[in-house]
């Protein structure tokens, strides 16, 4: 009951926050700051709402709204850790609203803690525990790196930790480089940028659905907010173009890797989590272009690239919670998350399927969805970015564009696989037959998110207009004259992309098709057994046919894993082909490992072993040995005093 109350309270608060943030952005997104006495001794914390934080706050609150609504529905599991959902939301809001280094670090670390706690609801399942262990091993050192980056930023300006003061003294020289590197590790690992992405899929997949929605939608957004805030805002505009290069390298690699892993995974939530890695990689490459363009003093291009990235964040932030909630609904209704046990749910859960279709279309970047708008803007930015800098960067950006396109195409493949295998087709398990459409508290947020993502997809110009204050602040130019309600036209004089126009055109075409059918087509349809290449009717004990005659998740992904996975994921397939005359089905099992993640983990483990072995040798085990060490140290000190102690 208290959790229900908390969920309702959270619902109200995030709704209010969403309205306020949107109103703030519409009103022009000035700066409002607030100092609260909680925080550093004698200093407190500074909070502020500016264009950037307002934009991310609106997104965060939208996701929070959906997650709290879903938490209302999710009363069955009864895990106490669910209370941390609200802690997580609050911590992320704090991090977004922070206007000094301390508040930012505080919010980020608190969010980490809450997201770990969310994984630990149930004792009986070791999966979430392993996921939590892996997340901890990455998140805390990453937070340490982030804090050092913030400290380096704030260290230069005396004791004023507020962003305003840091902005006034941007870092220079090696300190700026160090800030870049540390931020990439500190914030990038949180967003799941390669090579520190390995923790993300298990962690996001293991959390309960409302938490998973928040983790999948808002957590990467928060991490990308950190990247933007530190690299664009706090480091100031006077950074060189090569600052974009690291992001341009890790971003697309992670994107391809993540999307490919999404094709190899067999658990629907893991598929979604892997695709989060891919999407953040794409967005990070957009940020890289923006950094490079800003360094080359091309504000209009930088604003385009940043706008594309932010649009990608928005699309991801709306769509991923939608898909995750849908996956949660599927799990709740069908009792499993494994592709090999699902199928045929579209008949039992039409609303969930429709919502997930909308989400999957956006994930696959199909027009006219939000995902396509984001990808289109990013692509245009890369096109422009390649005209910006020297030959090396140009070629890099062309490669990035190709890899980004590959990632998007792989995302389409994964989306079709997810929807087609999990929701369409025939049931693979009797339990699926008993599935029922989920209740209102889960359906409403899904419908809301689907509607929101459709609206953003149809009117990306409006979303870009809302981020104008942020763009002006970060790169000194916005898209006001280049993005209207009807169309985006990044080159100003040349036509660009008009989602609503494309949608209208497609609608006309569909109307034409329907008209033609009405005009000449035969009316009505007969229902009969599927032809299925001439198969016999199924036996009576398999009323829906042998489920093994339809492709499995592994079978669907087999070609792509054969072509790309062998090289990139070390995919090994084990094929069990029956001899001629046998009646058992052929089976395929594919094993794929993420080589980047594996290498990173092995390296960390080796380092750990070596360090702790050395540390074990270090303190002598006996008291006498320790005393002897004391004498040795004393001798060294005496030598030191002899050498340096002379006046």
């Amino acid at each position: 009951m208290p959790r229900r109350l908390a969920a309702i309270g959270c619902l109200g608060l995030s709704g209010l926050g969403l309205v306020l943030a949107l109103a703030w952005l519409v009103a022009g997104g000035g700066v409002a700051s607030l100092a609260i006495p909680i925080g550093l001794p004698g200093v407190g914390m500074a909070l502020a709402l500016d264009g950037l934080s307002g934009w991310f706050l609106a997104l965060l609150m939208a996701v929070g709204l959906a997650a709290s609504a879903a938490a209302l529905a999710d009363a069955g599991e009864g895990a106490a850790s669910e209370a941390f959902l609200f802690v997580l939301l609050g911590a992320m809001a704090l991090a977004v609203l922070a206007a000094d280094a301390f508040a930012l670090a505080f919010g980020v670390e608190l969010a980490t803690l809450a997201s770990v706690a969310l994984l630990l609801g149930r004792q009986e399942d070791p999966g979430p525990r392993e996921a939590a262990l892996r997340q901890i091993a990455v998140a805390l050192p990453a937070a340490a790196c982030l804090i050092v980056a913030l400290a380096l930023l704030a260290g230069g300006v005396g004791w004023d930790l507020r962003f305003a003061a840091i902005r006034a003294h941007p870092p220079q020289g090696w300190q700026a480089t160090a800030v870049l590197a540390l931020t990439l590790v500190g914030a990038g690992s949180r967003a799941g940028l390669a090579p520190l992405h390995g923790w993300l899929p298990p962690a996001h997949a293991a959390a309960p659905p409302p938490a998973s929605a928040l983790l999948g939608g808002a957590m990467p957004a928060l991490a990308l907010y950190l990247l933007v805030r530190v690299l664009f805002d706090l480091c100031g505009p006077a950074q060189p173009p090569w600052w974009g290069v690291p992001l341009l390298v890790v971003g697309p690699c992670g994107a391809v890797l993540g999307m490919l892993r999404a094709n190899a995974a067999g658990d629907i939530k893991e598929i979604l989590a892997c695709s989060t890695v891919g999407t953040t990689g794409l967005i990070a490459s957009g940020l890289g272009v923006a950094l490079a363009a800003r360094g080359a003093d091309l504000p209009s291009l930088a604003s385009l690239a940043l706008a594309g990235s932010l649009l990608g964040v928005l699309a991801h932030g709306l769509v991923k919670p939608l898909l995750v909630l849908g996956a949660g609904a599927v799990q709740q209704a069908a009792g499993s998350r494994r592709l090999s046990l699902l199928g045929g749910l579209i008949h039992r859960m039409p609303v969930t399927t429709a919502c997930m279709l909308v989400g999957a279309a956006s994930w696959a970047a199909l027009p006219p969805t939000a995902g396509f708008a984001g990808f289109w803007t990013l692509f245009e930015a890369m096109l422009g970015g390649s005209r910006a800098a020297g030959a090396g960067l140009q070629i890099l950006i062309a490669v990035v564009a190709g890899l980004a396109a590959l990632a998007v195409a792989l995302a389409a493949l994964a989306a079709v696989r997810l929807i087609g295998v999990a929701l369409l087709g025939r049931p693979r398990w009797p339990r699926t037959l008993a599935a029922e459409e989920v209740g209102l508290p889960l359906r409403v947020p899904m419908l809301g998110l689907a509607a929101a993502s459709l609206l953003v997809g149809l009117f990306p110009g409006a979303a870009l207009a809302l981020m104008a204050p942020a763009l002006r602040r970060l790169v000194g130019a916005d898209l006001a004259d280049r993005a209207g309600w009807l169309a985006l036209a990044p080159q100003g004089d040349m036509p660009g992309y008009s989602a609503i126009g494309i949608a209208a055109l497609a609608g006309l075409a569909a109307a034409l098709a329907v008209g033609l059918i009405r005009w000449r087509g035969a009316s009505g349809a007969r229902i009969g057994p599927a032809w299925d290449g001439g198969f016999d009717a199924p036996p009576t004990w398999l009323p829906f046919g042998d489920p093994l005659t339809q492709p499995s998740g592994a079978g669907f992904a087999q070609p792509v894993l054969k072509w790309l996975g062998t090289a990139l994921l070390r995919a090994k397939e084990r094929l069990d082909t029956p001899a001629p005359g046998e009646v058992r089905p052929a089976r395929i099992a594919t094993e794929a490992t993420d080589p980047v993640d594996r290498a990173a983990r092995l390296a960390a483990a080796a380092l750990r072993t070596r360090a702790s072995a050395a540390a074990d040798r270090m303190p002598p085990l006996t008291g006498r040995g320790a005393l002897a060490l004391l004498i040795v140290v004393l001798a060294l000190v005496l030598v030191a005093v002899t050498v340096w102690g002379q006046p």
Partner: protein, 488 residues
């Protein structure tokens, strides 16, 4: 004659408020040694500790700098902390020790009470004394008490741990005494022979006139001696064993407070050296010891299976952080380091109190697994304390670590990353263990649920850690800043 006069003046000082803070535990220690009845001893112990706390609470308003005793903000604060942790520990032991016979032997006996008061009194003397050798005497008393307490369980392991502690701490005490003598020698040119030359407050005022080379030599000995007592790497070998084998509630006091007091002495010595232009700059060696401790803790925490050993090891790391901050030497760093010490002591005491309540075979981590499912209140308390110890928000150690890192990045940017990673890796290990506490396979239930009353001291500690780190009242913050400025 001057010696008789000095002794008379010192005795007179002992009769004042600060003197009583030192005297009450010492006298009750002597008294308790002759009380045969454990129940009576327990009551006397609790009363004495409470009285000490009450007296210590008045210390901030009794600023003074006499021949024997000195009360400045730093001493008052740390003495208050020590008395507070001592009192909560005694209350805790009093409420928790009753049910099980096996433990009453360790925590409730008259010997335990006497040793506890001895340690407490020694530490308070070391903190409040204005006389360099008297500080040493306080440490000597506390160390002897602690060694005996370590050996109190009378097991093979406890004996070995006590032996190790005796050897190493004895060596440390010897070096510290040599350092004290050398400090006096160094001060003679500035202050002349006599008591002023071994008085902390006079030394601080006249540090610039001291003989620099002797001062540097004294630093070497004092630093090594007190670093051994503070458990800084590479002289930390005794800490883990002593923490693991000793009787838990007593260990909690020693683990937190004694190391603090040694670090405070190092801080004061650092102030002397920093004020003397000709002497070695004291920051670098202190920071080296601190950083070594942090990195060593980060590397070796992974291998600790036993809960008490793990937390003992983490104490080394946290002391290292504070020592590093002291070595940095700016007022902000010193203030942050002091706050770090205070908060760490409170947190660690809460953890050891929690550990002591776990029905177990002496706190092995496989016994802690699934604790939350078995004993909800205890599990939550321990979980919160571990989170606090890992340096995560909303608890105060996050604030102080952040401040120290900030100051490091400002003064020695190259060292900020190793320090941050060391702290971060320590946090990783602690949180990994926490995961098993929260979500591990629950062991078959052993023992009864601990009384809720026994958890109250730990809650008080954690609440303090939360408030002091996050919402410190303005006057308190000002006091802390003044403290740091004074020892700079």
């Amino acid at each position: 004659m001057s010696v008789a006069f000095a002794i008379a003046a010192m005795l007179a000082e002992l009769a004042s408020g600060p003197g009583l803070v030192v005297l009450v535990p010492l006298v009750s220690a002597i008294g308790l040694a002759f009380v045969p009845n454990p129940r009576l001893a327990g009551w006397i112990n609790a009363a004495a500790a409470t009285l000490t706390l009450g007296l210590a609470a008045a210390l901030p308003f009794e600023a003074r700098a006499g021949l024997l005793l000195r009360v400045d903000p730093l001493a008052a604060a740390m003495a208050g902390l020590t008395a507070f942790v001592g009192a909560t520990t005694v209350w805790f032991a009093h409420s928790a020790a009753a049910p099980e016979a096996g433990r009453a032997e360790a925590a409730g006996s008259g010997a335990w009470c006497a040793l506890f008061q001895l340690v407490l009194g020694g530490l308070l003397l070391a903190l409040l004394s204005n006389n360099v050798p008297a500080t040493w005497v306080g440490f000597e008393a506390a160390t002897i008490g602690a060694i005996c307490m370590t050996g109190l369980p009378r097991t093979e392991e406890a004996g070995a741990a006590a032996s190790k502690q005796a050897l190493l701490c004895g060596g440390g005490l010897a070096l510290a005494f040599v350092g004290s003598t050398l400090l006096y020698l160094a001060a003679v040119p500035a202050l002349g022979s006599g008591l002023p030359a071994m008085t902390w407050s006079r030394l601080a005022a006249a540090a610039s006139g001291c003989q620099p080379a002797l001062l540097s030599l004294a630093l070497g000995f004092l630093l090594l001696g007190y670093a051994t007592l503070a458990g800084l790497a590479p002289l930390h070998a005794w800490v883990v064993d002593a923490t693991a084998e000793g009787a838990a509630p007593g260990v909690s006091v020693f683990s937190g407070c004694a190391l603090n007091v040694a670090l405070i002495v190092i801080l004061r010595v650092r102030g002397l050296l920093a004020a003397n232009a000709g002497a070695i700059a004291p920051g670098a060696p202190i920071m080296a010891l601190g950083l070594a401790s942090v990195l060593l803790a980060a590397a070796s925490l992974w291998r600790q299976r036993d809960a008490k050993r793990l937390f003992g090891q983490s104490t080394i790391g946290q002391s290292g952080v504070a020592a590093f901050a002291f070595g940095l030497g700016s007022p902000v760093a010193i203030a942050a380091g002091l706050l770090h010490l205070v908060l760490h002591t409170l947190t660690k005491a809460a953890i050891f109190q929690g550990l002591y309540l776990v029905p177990r075979r002496e706190g092995r981590f496989d016994d802690l697994a699934g604790l939350l499912a078995r004993h909800r209140g205890l599990g939550l308390t321990l979980a919160a304390a571990i989170v606090a110890l890992a340096g995560l928000p909303p608890f105060g150690l996050f604030t102080t670590t952040f401040l120290i890192l900030l100051e490091t990045a400002r003064r020695l940017p190259g060292l900020a990353l190793p320090l941050a990673l060391g702290v971060g890796v320590c946090g990783v290990v602690l949180l990994r263990r926490l995961v098993f506490v929260v979500a591990g396979e629950p062991a078959p239930d052993r023992g009864v649920a601990p009384p809720v009353a026994a958890l109250v001291p730990a809650w008080v500690h954690l609440a303090l850690v939360l408030v002091l780190g996050l919402a410190m009242p303005g006057p308190l913050a000002g006091w802390l800043a003044a403290m740091a400025e004074a020892v700079r």
